[in-house]
Each structure stands twice: as C-alpha cells, then as structure tokens.
C-alpha cells in the first residue's frame, strides 16, 4: 500500500471527507477511490454481484488498517461507503442493491446525508423537513444542514417528516434514498471558518421525488437512521471500508518542530516546551492504549462501557489541543496561513486546528457527550 501511495498532487488534500472543497480535490479523490476499488481494497465484504468480493469482514478491517498506516488519501465517498451502502446491503430491496451499490464503491455516485436541520443541531428526532405523498411522488419542503459534499452528490439519505401528527415525534419520520439533481433541490455551499468549503445547506422547495425513493415503510425512518449511525464504527459493522480520515499523529508535530528556533535556541530543547509536549504525548499514548485495552475484559471491570463511550470524546478534544499547541509553538510563522509561501507546512496546522472543531461539535458536541458518559458510565442523574 505504501508503495502505491499516489504522489503529492501539489495542492492540499482533505484530511476528511468533510473538507472536500474544490473540483480539483474531487477529481483527484474520485480517481483514487476508483483505483482502490479496482485493486480490491474496498467492499471486500460486500456481495460480488454488486461490485464487492464476498469475503469475510475481517479482511476489510485489515485493509483499512493498512491504509491508515500508509497515510494514503481518504476514500472520499464516506456517506456511501459507510452509511447508505451498508444499510442498502442489510435491508434494501434487490432493486435498490442493483441500482446503488456498485456506484458507491467506484466513487461514481457520490452520496450525502440529510439528517441535521438548522434549528435542531444535536436533536435529530425533532426534524421538521416535510415529505408529502402526492400520487407517485413525494413533495419535499424544508432544509437540511451540514450536508457534506451536497453540491457534488447524486443521492442523499434523507430523514423527513411524513406525519406531523404522529403521537411520538419519532413515528412521524420516514427515510428516503433521494436524488439530488432534481428541480427544487438547492444545495448551497457553506463556507467554513477555515475559509474553505465542504458542507452545504440543502434547501428543498416543492422538490418532487419518485415515491419509490422511500426506503422501508412510512413512519419507520427513525429506526433506519439509527441503524446508519451504528455503521459509523467501521468495517466490522458492514461498511465498505477505506480510510475516512487521515490521522494527524503526535510524531507529525515533532517533525514539524524540528529545527525551529525560539529565543535563539531549538524549540525542542526548550524545557518548558518539552514538558508540554510530553503531557500531550502521554495523553496520545494513553488513548491509543485504551483502544486496545477495551478488548481485554478483565481490565475493564471498574467502569463498564467507559472506554467505548469516552474514546471519541477524548480523541477529538486531544486533537484540538495538540493542534492548538502546534500552532502556538511555531513562533512568528504560526501567524501565517495557507496562501502564504512561507507558512510552515503550507499552513497545515492552522487549518487542522480550526478543522478540529468539526469533531468537537459534529455528531453531538463534547458537552453533550460528557453528559452521556456521566449518566451511562457513572450513573449520575440527568
């Protein structure tokens, strides 16, 4: 895999699928994903009649780890490979499988996700986007936010309200495999704090989609949405694999700092800097080791479910702190940004730090996640 890593394209590649912001990046990544699929690195556990290889899921796990170690570019069609695809594979009709699965693997059909709404960030069950049945069609009105690559996507997994009068709010929701390139669907790019694009807000204005886009039954959308969230965990849960996020390692920061000076001496020789770096390294190692310890039952007796429920919280917060420190330790060069030819590593760390908030906010803010750990692991009251 390391040998097949593509050459540096000469422009900044996205660290995650949430950062794809230009046609140039898109073309590169689409080509890369096609190569991955052709070489058999994607969809190993999916049936061969739909583009997969019908192998055991463990092979996909191994391939994924290899890609991570080699730090190759991401397999960018993440919503397709990791969310929509597994769901279609598991509960889709024969027709749905034939229509969608192969395009997901080859990267030809880009997918996006339409769950969050502007007024209901962490509270999916309150989604208000309406879908009204009209003959052979549904008419969609409302808006979805944080739809990654919404402007490039061909399909969206869409959670919409078909019955506003359902007794439980969850029972009013339905799930659609919805086309993006139809009149009335308007994905408007959102500029991120980094200055780049990558998300859209998708507006639906009397958009008409075929009734056949409904997946499963009307009013059972919540269950399907929850099922997709479980696939997020990776290959073992049925995802088609590929690297969804390039991990920035502690080692990368040390490498960046090598040779830099502060107060006239090497920054890596400054005792105060060294103490801070060791604190970061210890946290980095501790979380990594924790991921392995989680699999050893006897070493998890004191606080059950603590490691699985807190690991994301900790990685995302650690990443934010590490990147913030990396920017601070750059000296005057730390004040330059990506267009500057003198910016250290092309402004990589500045961008990475700002980008890190996507993880501390997205998928439930850290504050919400801390509540979950407090209540489910420590048993503290709501």
């Amino acid at each position: 895999m390391k040998a097949n890593k593509p050459a540096d394209p000469g422009f900044l590649l996205p660290q995650s699928f949430m950062e794809v912001g230009s046609e140039q990046q898109l073309d590169f990544l689409r080509e890369w994903q096609y190569k991955l699929w052709s070489a058999g690195y994607l969809g190993m556990a999916w049936p061969s009649e739909y583009g997969g290889q019908g192998a055991e899921p463990v092979f996909q796990s191994i391939a994924d780890k290899e890609m991570s170690r080699a730090s190759v570019p991401i397999a960018f069609n993440v919503i397709g490979l990791g969310w929509a695809g597994p769901l279609i594979n598991d509960v889709g009709t024969e027709e749905e499988k034939r229509k969608y699965l192969k395009g997901i693997l080859t990267g030809e059909d880009i997918w996006c996700q339409g769950f969050s709404e502007p007024d209901h960030g962490s509270d999916l069950g309150s989604a208000q986007c309406r879908a009204v049945r009209d003959g052979d069609e549904y008419v969609i009105n409302g808006s979805k936010i944080w739809t990654t690559m919404g402007n490039y996507a061909k399909y969206m997994i869409l959670l919409a309200r078909t019955n506003p009068n359902a007794e439980r709010k969850y029972d009013g929701l339905s799930f659609f495999l919805s086309p993006m390139k139809v009149p009335g669907v308007d994905p408007k790019p959102i500029r991120k704090l980094t200055g780049e694009y990558g998300f859209t807000q998708t507006y639906f204005n009397d958009a008409r989609i075929p009734a056949s886009c409904l997946m499963g039954e009307e009013g059972k959308g919540w269950q399907l949405a929850m099922q997709t969230l479980q696939y997020e965990r990776g290959a073992e849960a049925g995802a088609a694999g590929g690297l969804s996020m390039v991990r920035i390692a502690f080692e990368d920061m040390i490498e960046m700092l090598q040779g830099k000076q502060r107060d006239g001496v090497e920054v890596l020789d400054d005792p105060v800097v060294r103490d801070e770096l060791m604190q970061l390294l210890i946290e980095d190692k501790a979380i990594s080791i924790g991921e392995k310890r989680a699999h050893i039952g006897a070493l998890n007796n004191d606080f059950r479910m603590s490691l699985p429920l807190s690991t994301k919280l900790r990685w995302t917060e650690h990443a934010r702190r590490m990147r913030q420190a990396a920017v601070r330790l750059q000296g005057a060069g730390g004040s330059l940004y990506v267009q500057d030819s003198q910016a250290i590593q092309g402004g990589f760390w500045q961008r990475a730090y700002m980008q890190s908030f996507s993880a501390t906010i997205g998928g439930g803010t850290l504050q919400v996640q801390a509540n979950i750990v407090a209540e489910h692991v420590l048993g503290l009251p709501k």
């Binding site: 959102i190 500029r191 000076q261 500045q350």
Partner: protein, 372 residues
C-alpha cells in the same frame, strides 16, 4: 525580592480620550465594515485613517517638539483596547511603534521622520528576519555602500511611507530609515496573515547607503524597549477583542435553544464563560497597570514586569475566548459567517506578535527571580 507594582491610575483626560475613542471606533468599524475589508488589498479604510490622524492619534505619545501632543504612552492602551473591541485594524500600531523606536534612540537624525509621523505619515519597523520573536539576531547589513538583506512579518509594510530597518554596519546594530518608494513591488511579498484584517509583507532590501538615513545611537535599547511596548499594545488590542468575543458568545447563549432550553442555562457553557470573563478582567487590570508604569524615558523594571505580565495573560485570554466562542456556537461556530472565527484568528496572530506567553514569562522570571 520585589514582585512588581499593583497601583493603577487613570486620569480625567485619559477617561475622556477613552470615551472619544470608544465612540469613534464604533462609528468607523461596525462588523459589516470589518468583513468588507477582510479580502480587500489594503485592509483598511483610508478615510478612517485620516480621521484618526485628525484626532492626533499618530502623535499622541510624541513630544510637542515634533508636533505631538505629549499625552504619554499610557494613553495608547485604552485606544488600542477600543480598536481591538471593534476589530478596527489600521497601520496605527506600526506607525506609533516606529515613532517610539526612533524617539528612543534620542538621535536628532530621527527628527524629520518623527514630524512626518505626527503629521500622519504611515510607518513601520521590521523587527524580525525569521520566525523567532525572541532572537535579536540581524543579518541585514550595510556594506560596500549598500543596504542589503531581507525581513519577514513586516506589519503594514505595503503602505508605510517610512520603514525602520535594523541592520549591521561594521559590526554595530543601526537603524536604517528607508522610504516606502525605495522598495520595489518585486521586492515585496504579501503575507497571508491568519488574522484576516491584518496586513504584512516580507521584503528584500537592496538600496544605496547614500539614499537612506542611518541612526546609530541607542539602537539595541530602543528596539528592545519598543518591542516590549509593542507587546503591551497587542495585549491591549487583544483584551478589547476578547471583550467583544465574549459578548458575541454570551448573546448566542442567550438566544439559542437545544433540547428545549436556552443553552446558556447549562453550566457546561456558563462556567467557562465566567472563566473567560475572569481572564478578561485579569488582562484589563494588567494592561492598565502597565499603562500606569509606562513613561517616556527608559523602561523601568516595574514597567518591564508589567508589560511581560500583560502580554502573557492577554494572549492566552484571547485564544481561550476565541476557541470557546467557536465551540459554544456549535455548528454555527464552524462557519465563516460566524464572527467567532474572527476573534480566534486574531488570537492566533496576537499570541505570536512580539513574543508568545511562554517567552514573556521566561523574561519575567529573569526579572523577578534572578535580579537582586
């Protein structure tokens, strides 16, 4: 052992100046104006600059002999705090620091430049050549009748009529006063500064010695002291920015609901907001105490202690406030449209400018613990 002063003074005149500055900055720099200038080439509004000149701000700390109002350096602190609050970014800081640097040499050859600055000429000092604010090393030199070398991070260089360039001449550090028109466009590279309203360049110098004014008196001291004063002005500007940053955040916490409650009622957001408030109050106390200790002459030990403290605290405060502002705005905070990012970027720039917090604490420790 002496740990620095705690007294603080603020005159009626200073209060009036603060009041006037607050009004003018609010008028000159509403947030949509700030945004409209972000990707502008110049980065500020010339008309705003002229108004500031008319208010006498370029000569506020200069003696009457060069046309200044001799109001004292301390007067600049509330001024930059106000500008920071509105993200009003002009060449004023570069200009007053260039004046301060020239004045501190005590060299009569600086007189003309000081008059020009008091009258509104833009100016700047090229403090660093590399990325290390803690190094005083200079490789730019005057040799064989030529000033040659290169400088990075030269704030507001594009429009500066007067550039003050530290250089070595016969093994001694001097200041070369260069006119803006003596540096070709080809010798200038615009920086992409993380703090989007801010403008800076790296420049390459190749100018005949005959065409420049050279100042050789007290150069090391003037540069070193000016850098410390620069640190304080950035601290003041950062403190103002942190105030606005907290206000923007608190406003959002009072209006945004999640799970049926205003998010500002959650202690997870409430208590860190109080932490930010307390950090701002610390920064304010420290910048005003430093302002009290600043005088026209050589910086006293107490003044140095105060400047180091102010910069260390104010820099950390704004980064903290900006970082939490983005986080507490949730998805909205992740957008370019949300103002939280403007303050965070300002903080990332400001923490480096004139030395980061660790650098200032290192110098502070020398003054406090080693100086008997």
């Amino acid at each position: 052992m002496d740990f620095g002063k705690t007294q603080i003074s603020f005159s009626e005149e200073q209060a009036m100046l603060l009041d006037a500055a607050q009004g003018l900055c609010a008028d000159l720099s509403p947030i949509d104006k700030v945004r409209s200038l972000l990707e502008d080439d110049t980065g500020y509004d010339e008309a705003a600059w002229q108004q500031m000149v008319e208010m006498g701000w370029t000569g506020l700390a200069l003696p009457e002999s060069v046309g200044g109002s001799d109001f004292g350096l301390g007067a600049l602190v509330p001024l930059f705090e106000c500008m920071g609050k509105r993200l009003l970014t002009t060449p004023l800081m570069s200009t007053v620091l260039a004046a301060e640097c020239l004045r501190r040499t005590g060299d009569p050859a600086a007189h003309t430049s000081l008059e020009q600055i008091a009258a509104g000429a833009k100016a700047t000092v090229a403090f660093v050549e590399a990325d290390d604010w803690g190094s005083q090393g200079v490789t730019t030199r005057i040799e064989d009748g030529k000033l040659q070398g290169s400088k990075r991070h030269v704030a507001d260089a594009a429009d500066a009529a007067i550039l003050v360039i530290p250089a070595m001449r016969e093994g001694v550090k001097v200041l070369a006063i260069v006119r803006g028109d003596q540096i070709d466009a080809a010798c200038r590279t615009k920086h992409d500064v993380l703090d989007a309203p801010r403008r800076a360049q790296s420049i390459t110098l190749d100018i005949a010695e005959a065409d420049i004014t050279v100042i050789a008196s007290n150069v090391d001291r003037a540069l070193e002291e000016t850098q410390l004063i620069g640190a304080l002005l950035v601290a003041a500007e950062s403190t103002g920015a942190a105030v606005s940053c907290l206000n923007v955040t608190v406003d959002y916490l009072k209006t945004r609901k999640q799970f049926g409650k205003l998010i500002g009622s959650y202690q997870a957001l409430k208590h860190p907001s109080v932490d930010i408030l307390c950090a701002i109050e610390s920064s304010k106390s420290l910048i005003y105490q430093a302002a009290t200790e600043l005088h026209a002459g050589a910086l006293s030990r107490d003044a140095r202690i105060a400047c180091h403290m102010a910069k260390s605290k104010a820099s950390e405060t704004l980064v903290f406030a900006g970082d939490r502002a983005v986080q507490f705005h949730g998805g909205m905070g992740f957008t370019y449209e949300c103002d939280a990012q403007l303050y965070l970027r300002r903080g990332l720039w400001a923490q480096q400018a004139f030395g980061d917090p660790m650098h200032h604490r290192k110098r502070l420790a020398q003054l406090i613990l080693d100086d008997e």
